[in-house]
Amino acid sequence: MASIVLENITKKFGKVTALDGVNLQIDDGEFIVLLGPSGSGKTTLMYLIAGIYRPTSGRILFDGRDVTNLPPKERNVGLVFQNWALYPHMKVFDNIAFPLTLKKADKNTIQQRVHEVANMLRIEALLDRYPWQLSGGQQQRVAIARALVKQPQILLFDEPLSNLDALLRIGVRTELKRLQKDLKITSVYVTHDQAEALAIADRIAVINNGKLIQVGTPNEIYYNPRHTFVAGFVGNPPANLLNAEFDGTRLTIETKTFQAPAELLQRISGRRRIVLGFRPEKGSLLDHITENAVGIEVQVYEVESMGREQIVTVSIEQTMVKVLRPSEEKFQVGQRLFLCVDIKDLMLFDFDTNEALDVR
């Protein structure tokens, strides 16, 4: 168990800056997810915590102790890989025992500890098999067992669910979260899957182009994105982002114009251009504009059923907007409607900095 502090971490590979001035505090026992697209620097950040890489500048503290220059083996972290990295020439038992045999632990301790974690992960019956004789889900448990057997103070997960099929992924996700809560090991989990991040994290750190964009609970990230990148990356489908022009009283999207609600004026504070955003499930499609909402005329472009709900894609001239509606509502392609969004559900971003516009 340990808290982690990343202080102004910059990592360069030659001319490429993989991480740029990252500051992050992770509490003892917290489950934090590093979320970002591929190439964003999230795996690099995790390898820095593991000690595989050294930062170009900045400090890393575990429980207040500076570990920036310590080799991996002195950091006591467990790492679970996307492809699980189980040694093909070793049986499951030897794979799990590997970290202990490196430390030259005595035979009884090894036996006891391996059986302990194997029992916890329900893989005791598999100890005598080779990795290639196991299913994906079983291999993943073995990989977690190998990370846990050395009783690490920090657990690191590098997209551990990506190689599992979709159905299994949801099951394993739940188990992982429960396991982490039971063991209370500080965990850092890297993924590009926003749904996974929302489901599993205590807090999410969204990272893009080597920069930390926003850190917050899943709710904060989802409902209160501080940056258009977060709004446009999290959610399925993600938030709609529309460029709007402001003339002092009215907002214009493409050629459609509507009165800017008085509640927003202060946040817009005279900007000529802003980015308007809203979650797909916050939009409604009606034949009139409701109260306390902004409305704009749209045309139904396509309807996709998702079972319980449907994704209705509507067009404002050239701009496509996705709205999530219950499947009971019926829409026809080509139908003209009003897209209404409650004023309280509107998100406002600065056009140039892409940062959220706050109520001040």
Binding site: V77, F81, Y87, F98, L102, W132
Partner: protein
Amino acid sequence: MIRERSSRKWELWAFLAPALVVVVIFYVVPLILTVYTSFTPLRNWNIQRYATRLIGFYNYQKLFHAIANDPSVRAVFLTTAVFVGCTLLVNVLGGLILALLTFFVDRKTNSIASTIWLLPRMSPIAVYGLVWYYFFHGSGVGTLNSLFLRLGFIDKPIAWGQAFIPYGPWSVIIFVNGLVGVSFGMIVLSSAIKSIPGEFVIAARVDGATDWQICRRVLIPQIKWHIMYVTTWQLLSLLTSYAHTYLLVSWRLVNKSYGTPWALYVYDLAFTGVFDQGLAAAAGTLLVLVGGLLGLITLRILGFGRLMTEPRGDI
């Protein structure tokens, strides 16, 4: 249906034909001729007189008698065993060590080092032989001697390949041949190591493995098959190699008896001194038999059959 099958068969043979022709002309026919010659008293290339006469196993009796009683032939026999065994060890271990070292150094150093180790392979045998001829030369001009003289290790030049029988000549021929073979193992094994996913090494490092532990417990077990392949290949080629030793012996750098492996002895019997091609053919046949046997044994030990059929890796 039948026509289709037979045309497919033809296609198959058409593809195989060029390789088969080469194998038949350059391997099968000479092998048959050699075995046949070993049952004739052919000598001095007098084919008209001897080639049609059959004398049964006389050449083989003569050969085994010589191995048992002639000290110089026994020396050749012993030299072959030591030469093949030790050079094989140098080749495989050296190749493995270099492959592992290149894994841990950066790419630039890596390619420079690899090129240096390839030099012996790339240079013509005579040039390469000459380099070591001057290096081990028995006079004060020899590189090793002049170095040792200057450093004060020795007070007069030593003929390294002629002194300290048998270890002097053995060391020289093993050194010279070992250096040529190292690059083969290095190339095969380092490409095998490169194909191991990087996560294995990172996982081991996080678990606290040292470089040595990573080599021994993660990398080497995963390139076991490649190591065995290199071993078999080198064993068989060492058994039949004689070009370098031929030069070193004929330039009198090394002692003749203890610098001559079996393959060179076969050459000597047929083309120098006694010109006894019948006996040489018998010695050659023996070499083919031993080589074939060792090849079969190593393939059996390697479990070559298992390697070919068993599914490996992720399913």
